[in-house]
Structures are given as structure tokens and as C-alpha cells.
């Protein structure tokens, strides 16, 4: 029996013959499970197959959990539990021995599940004491916070993740209470309450952690076909595996994509009066602010530019709004988190520091920088000559069709609201969008107007443009 399954494993091996792999991974999954768990296994398998080619490791898969035995595990450095866990004592003992001898483990989602009926105290300790407590239902997307941006598992992702739809587990006790546990990613409390039928209302919900007594990472993602849809989350998954596998293979160099990069305008720094004493309360008082030299995109990020990002990162495009759009229309229905992820990706592609503009930079640029003529709308006194606003179009319009402002920047007023990098106020709950939009009245399109929104908020009239040091 064992020899048959070994042959099958060899057939499933994805590293070319004749090349010594960096390390060897054996992934276990089950077929007779919740369909959402089966869907995830398929997606993870194809992701790992590609990754193993790039990063020179062996990735074998099996659905036969009796392969969790001492003899076979001798061939592997890392064991992955994709959507299940061992159910017999013999399998558990072999796994325990494997881990005690320094083996690597990645467990996804239900692989870490344990409750009062599990009867495997060693595993609870291995998980850092975490016992399953509750979950949300139905599965939902969530905002995740990266707790340590310098850890090898999380160093290549932005400080927040827009995690695709998943069933999130909460644990009691939380593994954080264990001093040997290092929590790497946690569910942002902003998500609470999360769920409809079953609701997680509050509490500490770590989603990725390592018990530093072992060479292991637990990853709570793994429920449904959408889990592998976010490139940054995938990067985390890949980096976790490479970390427990002690990979020596260098990160492949990504070819810099010339097309799709935003055209940047240099803005000479200076001092200006930010705000408006005649405006809303949050625009007052007008005050002296100095900004350093920076660069800012000539136009709002377009659908075409966003599509390049999506194609390069296997990311889904956001829902299209009801009005007609071309590739030259500004991307909409993207959150602050999405915009930040785009800037992070651009930075990784180019080696430059792309980011969102600060509010001060945005307003300085919208007013025309050191060339400012003091217009109430960016580029003019007559709003209609410089901006799409006040419902004069049926939707957003292709970028750069109206007159540019003093610096050569288009659509800083109107078309879509643009995300800025900093918090709206000291409560740190909202970021600021600027510049008004096509379906917003004149007053709220003034260059000083501020519109606060939560970081995951998305809408048909919200987009952004990038800045760069």
C-alpha cells in the first residue's frame, strides 16, 4: 500500500529531475471535506506548484494520511496540512516526532482546529495553546493588520491586508497569551462585528502566528475559492513556506514593467496656506504648511493601470460601476487599503518609493504648488473648464480631458475623490479623500474640502493618484 502511494507522490512531484531541490514539502489534504475546503486545496496546490518551480523546492501532495509515518517523513523537511489533520494516534505520533526533530509545518485553516473532543494535548501546546472558540458565518473578506513588518514571513507585504473572503476563527485562549507565540497577523478590530448568521463581535483574533518552540506557522486562511486571490496574502503564504523550509534560493527578479506606470510630475516644495477660514470647520484655521519636493501622478490612476496590477498579481478587478468606462477612466471602487497595496506593488516593481500623497502634498499640488494662482478649483476659477463635477456627466470621465492646473496636473478637482495617506483626525478611524467627484456639488469640490472615510470603504466615485519621493 505504502509503495503505491509513494509512486503516486513521485508522479506529482513538480521539480525537474536532475536538479537538487532546496527542500522538500509533503502536503496532506482530504477530498471528503466541506466543498469550500476542497476548493481551497485545489487553488493552493496550483499556487504551490508554480512557486516550487520558481523557488527550487519539491512540492508533493497526498490525500493518504497514512503517509504521515516516520519512514516517509524522513524524505521531507516540511509538512503542510491543507484542509484536514491526522485522526489516528500513529499519524499523530509520527508528526510529533517529525516536529520535535526540527521539521517544518504550515497548517491552513481547519488544520489547526481543535476542541474539547480532540484529545491531543501535544497539538494544543504546539498551536500555542489555541483552542477553537468561534467563527463568522457566512465567510467574509476582512482587513488584517501586520504586527511585525520585519519578520521574514511578513516583510514583503504592506502594513494592512485586504484579505479575500474567508471563515475566520477565534481562539480561546488566544495564542497571544502564550509567551512562546509570535503573532504575525491579526484581524483588525475595525472588522467587528463580522458575520450575519454567526457573528464575531469583539476580542483578539490572531490569524497568522508561529510557536517559536517549533519550526511552524499557522495560517487561518483556507476557506473557499477566493482565498488565493490576493497577491500580497499569497506572498505571505509563500514566504511562510520558504521560511519554514529554510530556503536558500534567492527571490527571483521581477522584470520591471514599462507600460502601465503612471506619468509623474515633479513638484517643487514650498510653503503655502493650507485650509480655508471661510470653509468647513475641518478646513480651519488656514495655516502655514511647508512641503518638501515630491512627485505626483499627472492623472488619477486609470483602469488600464490598475488592470496591469491585477494581471501581474492575479488579483480580481473591482466591481464595475453602472456607467460606461474605458481603460482611460479612473479606477473606482478601490479602498484606501487597495490603493496602498497598489503603491507597494509599484514600489516593488520599480525600486522607487511610490505611496499615496499626504493631504498637505495633495492640497499644495492641487493649488498649483509654487506656481499657484489661488483658484478655488484646481486649475481655474471656472469649475467646468477644469473639472467633471455636479452631475454634468453620466459617470466618471476619461482622465485628462479638462484643462490641467498650474503644475500640469489633471482632474485634481472633480471626476473622483482621491485617497490621501494620512488620518482625517486624531481619532485615527478615517482617512481623508480630496478633490470632490463627478456627482458632487460645487461646494464640496473646492481644493480645501475634506471628506473622511474608513480605510475599507469603497464607492463608485472614489479613486486615487500616487505620489513618489
Amino acid at each position: 500500500m505504502r509503495s503505491v502511494s509513494t509512486i503516486l507522490i513521485l508522479l506529482a512531484t513538480s521539480v525537474c529531475f536532475g536538479q537538487k531541490p532546496d527542500f522538500k514539502v509533503l502536503a496532506f489534504y482530504s477530498k471528503d471535506v466541506e466543498s469550500d475546503h476542497g476548493d481551497f486545496a485545489k487553488k493552493l496546490r496550483s499556487f504551490m506548484n508554480e512557486l516550487s518551480d520558481e523557488r527550487k523546492f519539491t512540492f508533493d501532495v497526498t490525500t493518504d494520511w497514512t503517509n504521515l509515518n516516520d519512514t516517509l517523513l524522513k524524505n521531507y523537511q516540511v509538512v503542510v496540512w491543507v484542509n484536514d489533520f491526522p485522526h489516528t494516534d500513529a499519524q499523530r505520533k509520527s508528526f510529533q516526532k517529525f516536529m520535535d526533530n526540527g521539521g517544518g509545518w504550515i497548517g491552513f485553516h481547519v488544520a489547526g482546529y481543535n476542541d474539547k473532543d480532540t484529545n491531543w494535548p501535544w497539538f494544543v501546546d504546539f498551536m500555542g495553546g489555541a483552542v477553537f472558540y468561534t467563527n463568522n458565518w457566512p465567510p467574509l473578506p476582512a482587513r488584517l493588520l501586520i504586527e511585525d513588518q520585519d519578520h521574514p514571513v511578513t516583510q514583503n507585504v504592506p502594513s494592512v491586508l485586504s484579505a479575500p473572503t474567508n471563515e475566520w476563527y477565534q481562539w480561546k485562549p488566544s495564542p497571544r497569551e502564550n509567551k512562546n507565540v509570535k503573532v504575525l497577523v491579526t484581524l483588525d478590530p475595525i472588522n467587528y462585528p463580522i458575520g450575519i448568521k454567526d457573528i464575531i463581535t469583539a476580542g483578539d483574533t490572531p490569524v497568522v502566528w508561529t510557536n517559536t518552540k517549533y519550526n511552524m506557522v499557522y495560517i487561518n486562511m483556507g476557506h473557499g475559492e477566493f482565498v488565493m486571490d490576493d497577491q500580497f496574502q499569497n506572498t505571505l503564504v509563500a514566504d511562510a513556506l520558504l521560511w519554514v523550509g529554510k530556503s536558500k534560493s534567492p527571490k527571483p527578479i521581477i522584470a520591471i514593467e514599462g507600460t502601465g506606470l503612471p506619468e509623474m510630475i515633479s513638484v517643487k516644495g514650498g510653503t503655502f496656506m493650507m485650509g480655508d477660514d471661510n470653509g468647513d470647520k475641518d478646513e480651519k484655521p488656514a495655516r502655514k504648511v511647508t512641503v518638501a519636493d515630491f512627485r505626483i501622478a499627472k492623472t488619477e490612476t486609470t483602469i488600464g493601470q490598475w488592470r496591469t496590477f491585477c494581471l501581474a498579481t492575479n488579483r480580481r478587478m473591482p466591481e464595475a460601476p453602472w456607467f460606461q468606462q474605458s481603460e482611460q477612466h479612473p479606477i473606482v471602487n478601490v479602498s484606501w487599503d487597495h490603493a496602498v497595496a497598489y503603491a507597494k506593488w509599484l514600489s516593488q516593481q520599480t525600486g522607487k518609493n511610490y505611496r499615496l500623497p499626504t493631504e498637505a502634498e495633495w492640497e499644495f499640488a492641487a493649488r498649483g504648488g509654487v506656481k499657484s494662482k489661488g483658484y478655488p478649483y484646481s486649475g481655474g476659477r471656472n469649475a467646468d473648464s477644469v473639472a467633471w463635477l455636479a452631475h454634468k456627466s453620466e459617470g466618471t470621465m476619461a482622465v485628462a480631458q479638462k484643462l490641467p492646473n498650474e503644475l500640469g496636473l489633471y482632474d485634481m478637482t472633480g471626476n473622483v475623490w482621491e485617497w490621501c495617506s494620512d488620518w482625517y483626525d486624531d481619532t485615527k478611524r478615517f482617512y481623508t479623500t480630496r478633490g470632490g467627484a463627478w456627482d458632487i456639488g460645487l461646494k464640496n469640490n473646492r481644493v480645501t474640502y475634506r471628506n473622511p472615510l474608513g480605510p475599507t470603504s469603497r464607492n463608485h466615485n472614489k479613486g486615487f493618484r500616487v505620489a513618489c519621493d
Partner: protein, 256 residues
Amino acid sequence: MKYTFSLVALIFFGCHVAIAQPRFKVAAFYSTNGEMDHINFAKDALYFFELISEQQQFTFDATRDWSNLNDNYLANYDIVIWLNDFPKEDDQRAAFERFIARGGAWYGCHVSAFNLPDSKWKWFNTFLGGAYFKTNNWPPLPAKVIVEDRNHPVTKRLPASYISPTGEWYQWKPSPRENKDVKVLMSIAPESYPLGVKTVIEGGDTPVLWTNTKYRMLYMNMGHSNKIFSNSEQNTMITDAVLWLGKAKELKVKSE
């Protein structure tokens, strides 16, 4: 007895199967050309109402085609829900008025009741109890709400007050409370004021759930975020609201 009935139903039909004998029929109207928060609310509402329609044995249909607001279509239904929009055409409005006149029920959410003093559809304003939209908080926030009548069938299972999930809360002028036919069931708690960050509701009377007792209707201001169904107590109220409008008693549901 009730319990036995649902158990028997479960044995016969299992989960996710058509209901043999619906107790009443609901048609929900919604739109996807609008604010994302309104679209997300509708999406969650479809999930929620489908779930409870199985448990509570009623038919739940949903349409984005507002031209279905006509006599023939409405003849099939006992309750009409407007999740995130309202009819714009005169013939749709007239068909809705006839539906209500012959005893049909309405459950309106959030923007579905948006109307201003210069809105043309005067009947609708009367139907709402005279409430015109006055202002709202911005950005959307959770708010503590008070349950004003805990004996009413819709609110009987709610606590005296609770934090209702993130929403854009409307204040009305006049407040529907000024209408003697209106029964206000819930309103914003005084300690929630000032409510808002950029645009603030400073105080005053802000009913968020009411019925105009001259009609079979209920208006619920909740409906602006993907968080509305994340409070199980409020979800119970929404279930009870549909049952009340459908003149049906709650069936005890065995949890899975």
C-alpha cells in the same frame, strides 16, 4: 407543536429546498446603480432573508427590475421590501399605492424613504407619516439606539437599548413622531449625540424605526453599510418585522 412542525418539515424537505406551503410571500426590490454601501446592504439582505425564509416558511423573491412594480406582479405577493431604492416612474408609484390600498405590506429600508419637501410624490410622504429627509451624519458610524416599545411584535425581543451597526443615520423634518398615527418603535439614544465626524447630528429627535398605523408598513433607517446584519439582536428584530408584516407567528428553529 411548532417545534414538531419545523422538525417534520426538515425531515421531509431537508435544507435549501423549496417551501411546500409558504405562509406568505415577499418581493424585495433593489438597485445596483448607486452607493457601494447601499449595494452591500442589499447583498447582505438577500443572504439574510433567504436564510430566514427557509426557517420561517415564507417565499422570498428579489428583483432589480422596478417595472415589476405593477398590478400583475404585485398580485403574487403579500409584502414588498425596498432595500435601497424607490420607484421613479408614475405608473410604478400608482401600482404601489394600489397594492397598499388593498392591504399589501411594505418594509422600507434606509434610502427607500428619502424624500424632500419638493419631491413630487406627495402620497408617499403621507404614507411615511409626513417625514422629510433633513440631514444625516457623515461618515457612517454605529449608534446607540433606544427601543421605545418592547411590547410591540417587531421589537419585543430587543433589549431596552443596543449599539446598532455602522450606518448613515437620517434625521427627519418634521419628525414622524409629530404625526399621531405614527408609532415610533426605535430612535437614536440621546447619549449618541453629537453623532458624526464631518457632518454631525447635534441632537433632537431621530426615529429610526416606525410604522404609520394607518397602513401595513414599517420603515427602518438601517441600510448603509456591510455591517447591518452583524448584530444578532437586530437581526431578530428584522425577522420579527417581516413576520409581523406577514401576519405570521415565529416558527422555532432548531439550530444546526
